[in-house]
């Protein structure tokens, strides 16, 4: 079998043909503009890190686009095969470094499935509180970056970061670190929260609706934002499902699939919240879904902070020393802020995993980047890419 190779000048070659493949439409140059191949990145500020896109342009119009990965590749999965289960926990912080607590939870969940470990009530509540705080700060800064890429230099991003700072302060006082939290353990959480911490969290959560109102007043009906976002980068629901898109991007296309609702992992069946859905699947819907998800997260936070029981945060039967799961495998997944974050583990009875796999939502959500960008101007590529909301630490692993 012939293996394709990358070559410069792909813009001038014919698109790959495959029968029946759900592939992006082929756009032929119309001969009006100049045919150009542009390499965007890897150090372009709008690529959120080190990511490159090879874009073929017909004048201003994108006719082909190829993402290039691997600039931040460090073989995270192989590191796992050389360490123990517990010492892999801090590494998961570095996957999506905006949402380290969600990553911790996903990994802990997968290991708990592998060994059949129960989690105490209070730890489950703390996990929900931390995961939803993470979601709020991730969505706020994702929107901030999106608007930044639209040309609103700084202001909305700083509004988002002001709020993110308060949440990171909470993380710091609980876990000792702002971003690399390394907080969850198999069978609970590392330390208990104090009453003062819960009080401080209530205070921050009470301030969040005001922040979102202010944010929305600033942005939602802004004429430039609407002109740049509405009808741009449309993703059809059929393609979104087929391409495995998850998270706010999938729901913006109108597919009702939230793993908190489907799997009821943790204690999510106890909370009342709605799943916001988009109608058109364009950038504006993705923006709006994120705003509404923040509002729903606040509802969950309020309920969890009200109901949190007292008790231990670690299961008494949880094994910490000599942790060797019996041979077998498990796939655990959660609804991370960016989509479905899953961990697939195979144990051969040793003290480290035989196989450790991360299902990265950021990477898989980029599958449809070319489909969304085709036919749009090159300035919109930056915007469409921003609306996917990725972190390169998770894309390249």
């Amino acid at each position: 079998m012939k293996v394709a190779e990358t070559s410069p000048g792909f813009a001038f070659e014919k698109a790959p043909e495959a029968e029946g493949w759900n592939r992006p439409p082929v756009i032929e140059p119309d001969g009006e503009g100049e045919l150009l191949e542009v390499s965007m990145g890897p150090h372009h500020p709008s690529t959120h890190g080190v990511f490159r896109m090879d874009v073929a342009l017909d004048g201003e119009r994108v006719i082909r686009l190829k993402p290039v990965f691997g600039y931040l590749h460090r073989n995270h999965e192989q590191i796992a095969e050389t360490t123990s289960y517990l010492s892999m926990m801090p590494y998961t912080d570095r996957l999506d470094y905006f949402c380290s607590l969600s990553n911790n939870w996903a990994y802990a969940l997968a290991v708990e499935k592998l060994v059949g470990q129960a989690v105490p009530e209070r730890a489950e509540y703390i996990r929900v509180i931390l995961a939803e705080l993470t979601r709020v700060q991730n969505h706020a800064s994702a929107i901030g970056f999106l608007i930044q890429e639209m040309g609103a230099s700084g202001t909305p991003l700083m509004y988002a970061f002001k709020e993110r700072e308060k949440i990171l302060d909470l993380f710091e006082s609980l876990t000792g670190s702002r971003m690399m939290c390394n907080y969850m353990r198999f069978g609970g959480c590392r330390v208990d929260t104090s009453a003062a911490w819960l009080e401080a969290t209530r205070k921050v959560v009470a301030g969040l609706p005001h922040f979102i109102d202010e944010y929305e007043a600033l942005l939602s009906e802004n004429e430039i934002l609407m002109a740049r976002c509405q009808g741009v980068g449309v993703l059809k629901p059929e393609l979104a499902v087929n391409a495995g898109i998850t998270g706010p991007m999938l729901r913006a296309s109108g597919v009702n699939y939230d793993i908190r609702r489907v799997d009821h992992y943790g204690i999510y069946d106890r909370f009342k919240f709605r799943v916001p859905l988009g109608e058109h699947g364009d950038i504006y819907d993705r923006y709006m879904v994120r705003v509404l998800e923040m509002r729903e997260s606040i509802k969950i936070l309020e309920q969890a902070l009200k109901e949190i029981p007292s008790g231990p945060v670690m299961d008494a039967k949880a094994k910490i020393r000599g942790f060797r799961p019996k041979p077998g495998e498990a796939y655990g997944r959660i609804e991370a802020p960016k989509g479905e974050l899953g961990f697939y583990l195979i144990s051969d009875g040793g003290n480290g995993p035989y196989r450790f796999r991360v299902r990265p939502p950021s990477l898989i959500n980029l599958t449809v980047l070319e489909d969304m960008c085709l036919g749009h101007n090159v300035a919109d590529v930056v915007l469409i890419f921003g609306s996917v909301d990725i972190v390169l630490g998770e894309v390249d692993r």
């Binding site: 495959a18 691997g70 590749h73 391409a243 489907v262 796939y331 997944r333 980029l366 599958t367």
Partner: protein, 228 residues
């Protein structure tokens, strides 16, 4: 949600000669998987996606796993004819002896697929496919034409494990650079002495490279040490 046995029965009813076997998972997660015959895998995958009751429209996770050649030691009871002196008379007696026999179980590469249904909101259904060996027969059919979410993930497995997915429309390395030669996630992977592929003047690098040379490995090692 159907059990694995029911799914297996449904597949065998729809795709004659599918050759599906159940791989049990002894861990508490109890996520048992179905081992597919690569030659029938596309038909089975199409059935799983189109079937009204299963409707597995969402391929979530695609993974590679590497299993090395394994030496299995087995205790076998062997009957032997032994010459023995019983009561001063030499006789031939049959005797049963336990013997340890070793045989080599060939290694293979495996692709694992986790399927869910967005319409019916159930899952996971775990599929596996195995290559014949780890060296030259490493071809498996690609699921990218059926579920596009496999596009990047199969490229990643091709890159890191070296499984060649037949029918993948754009099979290139995903994370490593195109000129890279090996497959870093394989269990027997040895990292190169120098990623740049150019000799450097750095002494320790040169000494280490010499020590890895196939011919006279030990001799060159000691000479490198002597030189130091």
């Amino acid at each position: 949600m159907k059990t694995v046995e029911q799914i297996k029965a449904a597949i065998e009813a729809a795709v004659p000669g599918a050759g599906v076997t159940i791989v049990t998972n002894p861990s508490p997660s109890a996520q048992h998987s179905l081992l597919l015959n690569p030659s029938q895998a596309i038909a089975v995958a199409n059935f799983l996606r189109e079937d009204e009751e299963l409707a597995l429209d969402f391929l979530s996770n695609v993974t590679g796993v590497d299993y090395l050649d394994k030496e299995v030691a087995e205790k076998v009871k062997v009957t032997k004819q032994v010459a023995k002196t019983v009561d001063g008379v030499e006789q031939t007696i049959e005797e049963t002896v336990e013997e340890t026999r070793k045989h080599l179980e060939p290694g293979h590469l495996e692709a694992v697929y986790h399927l869910f249904s967005m319409r019916k909101k159930h899952g996971p259904v775990v599929l596996r496919m195995r290559t014949v060996n780890r060296t030259d027969k490493v071809e498996l059919p690609s699921f990218t034409p059926i579920w596009r979410s496999a596009e990047f993930q199969e490229r990643e497995i091709f890159d890191l494990y070296g499984i060649v997915f037949a029918g993948h429309p754009d099979l290139r390395r995903l994370l490593m650079w195109p000129e890279f030669k090996d497959h870093p996630m394989r269990k027997d992977y040895v990292e190169p002495d120098d990623f740049e592929y150019e000799p450097t003047a750095h002494d320790s690098v040169m000494a280490r490279a010499k020590s890895h040379e196939a011919a006279g490995e030990q001799a060159s090692l000691s000479s490198a040490e002597a030189a130091r």
